[in-house]
């Protein structure tokens, strides 16, 4: 084993560490040989090292139950807190359900509020009423395209039903609410942004005799009679004892801006 490996300049940190791993003093020349005191001291140092090892080993051995205890106590604490958290989450869930129940209870026990929900279209409703079935005529009955049922036809019909005293209206299962748009998109009509196809079934809830009489008499009814006579549009009005209307789509019911109008 030569010494010149130590003299070379080491480039990397690891090389430096391994090259200087032994104390350089061991390699310097000593004038006087080590005396008895030095030997005694080095033996004492070795004893000290042995004692240190033994002490540390014993200490770790005796402390082990205490550290184990601490560790398991901490784990128990963590588990207890997790349990508390889970319990609280369950309470939150239960309270939420209770809240929903109470809200529905509040709705159903207050007729004025219930009426509001009905006219807003937020809840499903059933009762007596009428059913109008409208269908476009065939192209042979007239040269123009006026035989097709358009969005304005439906709008007029629905406005006429409101005028006739309807309390709730739905077209082909789509509840008509304040934000309902009835538009022609290409070849089909969309209501509440959903396409509906023929035949157009308009359900309305209200006093059926009044609805029938009023609708046929008011401008909407007369408009539709003209359409039937002159352009071959099909129109069928029947009164029904049981009409079921679904609630409006919840995405369309969210209001971010509203302005009240005076009722005349």
């Amino acid at each position: 084993m030569t010494n010149d490996t130590r003299v070379r300049d080491a480039e990397s940190l690891l090389d430096q560490l391994t090259d200087t791993s032994i104390d350089s003093d061991y390699y310097s020349a000593h004038e006087r040989p080590p005396g008895r005191l030095s030997k005694a001291l080095s033996t004492l140092t070795i004893c000290l090292f042995g004692g240190l090892l033994a002490t540390a080993a014993l200490q770790t051995h005796f402390d082990r139950p205490a550290t184990e205890l601490e560790r398991s106590a901490m784990i128990d604490g963590v588990e207890a807190r997790q349990e508390t958290r889970d319990r609280r989450l369950r309470t939150v869930e239960a309270l939420r359900e209770e809240l929903v129940e109470l809200q529905e209870l509040g709705i159903s026990q207050d007729p004025a509020r219930e009426a509001l929900f009905v006219s807003a279209g937020e809840i499903a409703v059933s009762g007596e009423g009428v059913r109008v079935t409208a269908r476009s005529g065939s192209s042979t009955t007239s040269g123009e395209r006026a035989w097709r049922v358009t969005d304005s036809d439906l709008q007029l019909l629905i406005n006429g039903l409101w005028q006739a005293g309807a309390e709730a209206i739905a077209v082909n299962g789509q509840r008509v609410i304040a934000t309902t748009a009835i538009r022609t998109a290409g070849e089909t009509i969309t209501i509440n942004y959903r396409s509906v196809g023929e035949p157009y079934v308009v359900d309305a809830i209200g006093d059926r005799d009044e609805l029938v009489a009023n609708l046929l008499a008011n401008p909407a009814g007369r408009y539709w009679s003209e359409r039937v006579e002159n352009f071959g549009v099909e129109f069928n009005l029947e009164s029904k004892s049981e009409v079921n209307l679904p609630a409006g789509p919840s995405s369309r019911l969210r209001t971010t801006y509203a302005q009240a109008w005076e009722a005349n």
């Binding site: 391994t18 061991y26 030095s38 140092t45 540390a56």
Partner: protein
């Protein structure tokens, strides 16, 4: 031979008397042991190279233990205790490995 006897005597005394390390020094015992081990392995390597010197051994032992413990203590006070102790352990570990490798070479080649 004498060092081995000394080591055995030290271990035996430690087991018999079971001295307890005072509380404030307890966290530094592991690092002191590693520093002491570094000095002892270095001494063993020097002994194998016929360059052992008692004075150097005693001084390197004590200075290693004191300096390593002091570095860790300083790190604790500055708030970088774990990082500094990691650095000290890494360096001491590398030195121990290098010395042990040299000893191994002496044993199997010399």
């Amino acid at each position: 031979m004498i060092p081995v006897i000394g080591l055995v005597v030290g271990i035996a005394l430690g087991l018999i008397f079971q001295p307890t390390v005072p509380e404030p020094l307890q966290p530094y015992v592991p690092i002191a042991i590693i520093a002491a081990l570094d000095a002892v392995v270095g001494a063993a390597r020097a002994y194998g190279e016929k360059r052992f010197d008692d004075r150097v051994f005693v001084i390197s032992f004590l200075s290693n233990v004191v300096i390593a413990s002091f570095m860790v203590y300083l790190g604790d006070q500055l708030g970088v205790g774990s990082q500094l102790s990691t650095g000290v352990i890494v360096v001491l570990g590398i030195r121990i490995f290098a010395n042990a490798a040299a000893i191994r070479r002496q044993i199997f080649h010399a």
